[in-house]
Subunit: 214 residues, 4 copies
Amino acid sequence: MPFIFKMEYSEKQIQIMEAAEKLFAEKGFDGTSVRDISEEAGVNLAMISYYFGSKEKLMESLFLTRGQSITLQLESMLQNKEMSSLQKAYGLIDSYMDKIMRLQCFHKIMSREQMANVKGATTKLIHQLKKKNQELVQQLISEGQKKGEFRKNIDVPLLMATLIGTTAHIVTTQHYYRKLNNLEDLSDDEFEKQIKKKLSNHLKSVFKSLLTYE
Amino acid sequence: MPFIFKMEYSEKQIQIMEAAEKLFAEKGFDGTSVRDISEEAGVNLAMISYYFGSKEKLMESLFLTRGQSITLQLESMLQNKEMSSLQKAYGLIDSYMDKIMRLQCFHKIMSREQMANVKGATTKLIHQLKKKNQELVQQLISEGQKKGEFRKNIDVPLLMATLIGTTAHIVTTQHYYRKLNNLEDLSDDEFEKQIKKKLSNHLKSVFKSLLTYE
Amino acid sequence: MPFIFKMEYSEKQIQIMEAAEKLFAEKGFDGTSVRDISEEAGVNLAMISYYFGSKEKLMESLFLTRGQSITLQLESMLQNKEMSSLQKAYGLIDSYMDKIMRLQCFHKIMSREQMANVKGATTKLIHQLKKKNQELVQQLISEGQKKGEFRKNIDVPLLMATLIGTTAHIVTTQHYYRKLNNLEDLSDDEFEKQIKKKLSNHLKSVFKSLLTYE
Amino acid sequence: MPFIFKMEYSEKQIQIMEAAEKLFAEKGFDGTSVRDISEEAGVNLAMISYYFGSKEKLMESLFLTRGQSITLQLESMLQNKEMSSLQKAYGLIDSYMDKIMRLQCFHKIMSREQMANVKGATTKLIHQLKKKNQELVQQLISEGQKKGEFRKNIDVPLLMATLIGTTAHIVTTQHYYRKLNNLEDLSDDEFEKQIKKKLSNHLKSVFKSLLTYE
DNA sequence: AATGAATGAGAATTCATTCAT
DNA sequence: TATGAATGAATTCTCATTCAT
């Protein structure tokens, strides 16, 4: 039986996970049937249970795979002695936005999952992820404060809520954003490029005013 | 025929809508069965189809009812000659937060719906709502600019994304927020009071830096 | 929801249970699909889950209903002062055979279930039933011994195994019995009448030799 | 093509048949999946179809193999001039019990199969087996009658039903038997030894009274 | 000879809705 | 108006078997 704990995925399995990711993002977990997934992935219906055991376990596999790549990897940056703390904060913004933009679908799925307040298979993973990220950002902020670059009274959770919430809102509602701002003719790539730049500048400006003395 | 166009709802209907609101928020539209709703509402299973026609029409009714109360009502404030534009912006923040906090469930539902990029029954309503709100805020900003209070280069959509996204993120992930920041012992009301105050100050500070010259 | 604990069954429910009883007896629990049952009962497929919750719960309901009527009701006979102990033993034989013949299908189901040595939903009920019956028979035997009618060294479990096993063997393999003894032309009723008489005499003869001094 | 007609079985095939025998006995044919068998046997899933063609053909192979060894081999005993007919009847009892005890699993399978009154692959084999056995026993009884040892009015089928039914009942319900008679602490072997002795004496006593004049 | 991968058919169950009253 | 009963369609998952190697 090919049920997987930690292993390389076969091409078929990756096809399935990518199809699932897309559909879960669009229609939600419950709104997506395994038949939908099998059709989107171009594989036999039974393969999904065969490979992943169940629809829920497929979701878990997805979370385990994507969850790893979405964690913030600030360690190296944090140890960089050349960068100012503000530069590092800017790095955080760009790094975070990069990840979200690249993993838009998975991000949508996670956003949905976060709303459920009954504990599901993903709850624990999301918690770990959030905790890890908050600690890293806290470290960054503390360093800036120690160096005298940053203000003393900084609410890290709210700071992160602003970073994550604003980005998430743009990403998850981009369809409306484009329609409302007459950007429907832009290609997806072009739009992404533009919005990334604007949003990056916007958030940097916000961060600067929240973190520094001037 | 009891299908409703625009009409007062009976007590039973309100019970159903409230039950649906709660469950849709928690588990999503597809994750909630009409049986779940009938049980939560304490009404007969067949009543839901009987009163609302279908599960989808129930969702629409919910949107029509709650959607109205969630639109920003800034008109009177905009015409107030006594308030500075910044004060009005602050009013906007508090007003928006008030609505979200009071209608948390419905807000979650809307957040979920916004992610779906296939057009559903709610798409149009959400679009109208967003459009209306953006226009009102644009008006507020333009007035501030005309009066010289506000900067010239203000990106209204991004400003709103910050307001909405940050608030939404706090509201939809409050469970994790509390766990991560050791606030699990607080009562829901107490937590809401605290977070509202903190978030209000936070957003006002952000808005001030984004909007004004100093 | 019409899930039942102890309640009168509707006509539909009885239809379903009777169809299930017949098919479980013929083809076994796993060899019978709910579709088979729905077709045999002439009801909609979904009705079975609707009424009984699941195929397994249907089996349980069947056991609870039939299990009651298959318990030996010897109480009144045991208290009869007019009958000799041997007469009572004969009464036991006829009473047991009556029940088995009348509930042949259920008896087959129980025979199958008894073979499974993993504990299922029916295990407990079967145990209780067997215990109760063994106690009653023990009582009957002890009484005969006290009165000096019966031998001292009587192995009650083996005695019952002979009664039950022999009857069960005839009932469950009657198809082969008839074929092997050229009784295929007899009507079911006629065959049952004949075999009941023969078996009754046979068992009475066996019991007499095992129980009494002569 | 590795499908077998009459042939020695390889080690793998024997593993499979033994696993199947155990599981069919416990859970029935339909309650056992080929995956269950492959796991129990420790062989590849596909090997079962590969070696036996299908699950059903595996069952047939099992019957052909085990069926041979379960037939009563009374021929030599019948020709023995030294033994009394009663001794031969006693020999029959011990011989039958030996076989059943040694092939408990297969016996359970056969018991289940006998209940099905739709003709399956095993029906014919079972019929032949039963016919052969009945003839042999009839011969034994007739001989005893001719010699004046046995009564005239002996119902051979009922006699066999008593032998087979009683033994089968003990074997197939031994789990309950032990629980009901506080023999759960005995090892399987010890229990088997005890029950065999007791049952043998019991049946011999019954046979004696049924067959002889005193 | 042996097997991992794959699959169509069918399993049980749940679903939203409708019917009969 | 209100509801218990009923149902067709769709759900997820498992099954025995076969294919490609």
